[in-house]
Amino acid sequence: MDIQSYIASGKLELFLLGELNEREREEVLALASKYPEIQKELDALEETLFSFDQKTGPVPSSKVKDKIFASLEGEFKAAETPKARVTEAKVVSISPWKSFAAAASIVAVLASAAAIFYATKYYEKDQQFTALLQEQSVMADNLNQVKFEYEQKDVLVEKLVSGDFKRVQLKVGGLEIQKDAEVDVFWDKSAQEVFVAVNNLNELSDEYDYQLWAIGSTGPIGIGLVNSGHKLTLQQMNSVSEAGVFAITIEPKGGSQKPTLDKLVVIGDVT
């Protein structure tokens, strides 16, 4: 390696001016540590540049020196007095803690008050909400009931409209147990369907029921119990294919196999 021509290239000067890239800097440093002549030249050049700078420049004003040392004062103080640093650290750490604690307790009180206020509100609203839910549930049940009934009626109306029903008026017979009793029976013979509409029947005591009988060639057949309370509604009875007469008797609770004829309330012929 030609050390002299390397030195003469001007690379060392550029190194000192900070104009070499990282790779070139590494190269200069490596060669300088390998060749004492290069290191010596580098030192001499640095000394020249320093002395040129030192001799050709004005002295910075004392104003800028004061400003620099004022800027650095904090760093000096922190380094100079470890005790002061601890005290300072204490002051720094305690006072924010106190104000933090004070602030925190105020915040805590306010937060607690707000929490209680809103908890009460919440409880009230929760109660109201539960009540509303129950109410809504009841209404839903009612609605379902109404809907169910409506559907039943709908089916019924459809049957009555589409079917071939014959109206049989049942009236008080010779026994006159109830003088104003009146019941209509609607019978679709082909569909074997029977409905009862109570116009007027007295209430019975709990031990008795009204029972509807279809009387044909084979004798009377019980086709269901009639609810006297359901006035002016259609009650579906058991099916019947053949009957000449319909009659209602008062029977012991649940009905009987054969009609108790001395308790015949109403009777009517199929015309």
Binding site: L49, T56, G57, V59, S61, V64, K65, F69, E80
Partner: protein, 191 residues
């Protein structure tokens, strides 16, 4: 860092570079004062060559000096001497400033003559530089060398910028830089 000084007056003490570095890293006040006494003028020269406006130059110097004391931990002794590291921080700060929009053209030094004129006209500073001496020193350079020094030292150009802008081969720029510095080296004792 009391062990460094031990009651000795700082101005009369010569500190080794490693002692200065250790003191700076420990944020030692007296080491920092020593650094200032020893290097402030040279470092300020690096900046004021490039920026003529005294207020702006001092502002850049203030910032650079603070930067030096705060970045001392990142300084690696193996990568070069302390003065070179510090001078490069100052030079780069000054160049950055000239390239920033806030600095008007008039605040930049254009020629060596401007700089010398600035030195001569500066009064009020007791220890102010002999402008005539600097002028004579510069007169020792031939025109090529003077040109190179003017652009690199006073205008903050890099050697590759000079090469590109004036169409001078990079090798020629380098060797002229070297030649110019050699002339300065020989004549520095005279001022």
């Amino acid at each position: 860092m009391g062990f460094i000084f031990n009651g000795v007056t700082t101005t009369k003490l010569l500190l080794q570079e490693e002692q200065i570095i250790a003191g700076l890293r420990a944020k030692d006040r007296k080491t920092t004062e020593y650094l200032y006494e020893k290097y402030s003028r040279a470092l300020y020269a690096v900046i004021s060559r490039i920026i003529t406006d005294q207020d702006i130059a001092e502002e850049v110097f203030h910032d650079s000096f603070i930067k030096i004391t705060r970045k001392i931990d990142s300084y690696e002794e193996s990568k070069g001497r302390l003065y070179t590291w510090m001078a490069n921080i100052c030079r780069n700060s000054a160049i950055d400033k000239t390239r920033s929009k806030e600095l008007s053209q008039s605040a930049k030094t254009n020629t060596i003559d401007d700089f010398v004129y600035g030195l001569e006209s500066q009064s009020g500073t007791m220890d102010h530089v002999d402008g005539i001496g600097v002028k004579e020193l510069m007169n020792q350079l031939n025109d090529d060398q003077k040109f190179i020094i003017e652009y690199i030292y006073f205008k903050g150009y890099t050697h590759s910028e000079v090469s590109e802008e004036f169409d001078i081969p990079l090798g020629t720029v380098k060797s002229r830089v070297r030649a110019a510095i050699q002339v300065l080296k020989k004549n520095l004792d005279k001022i």
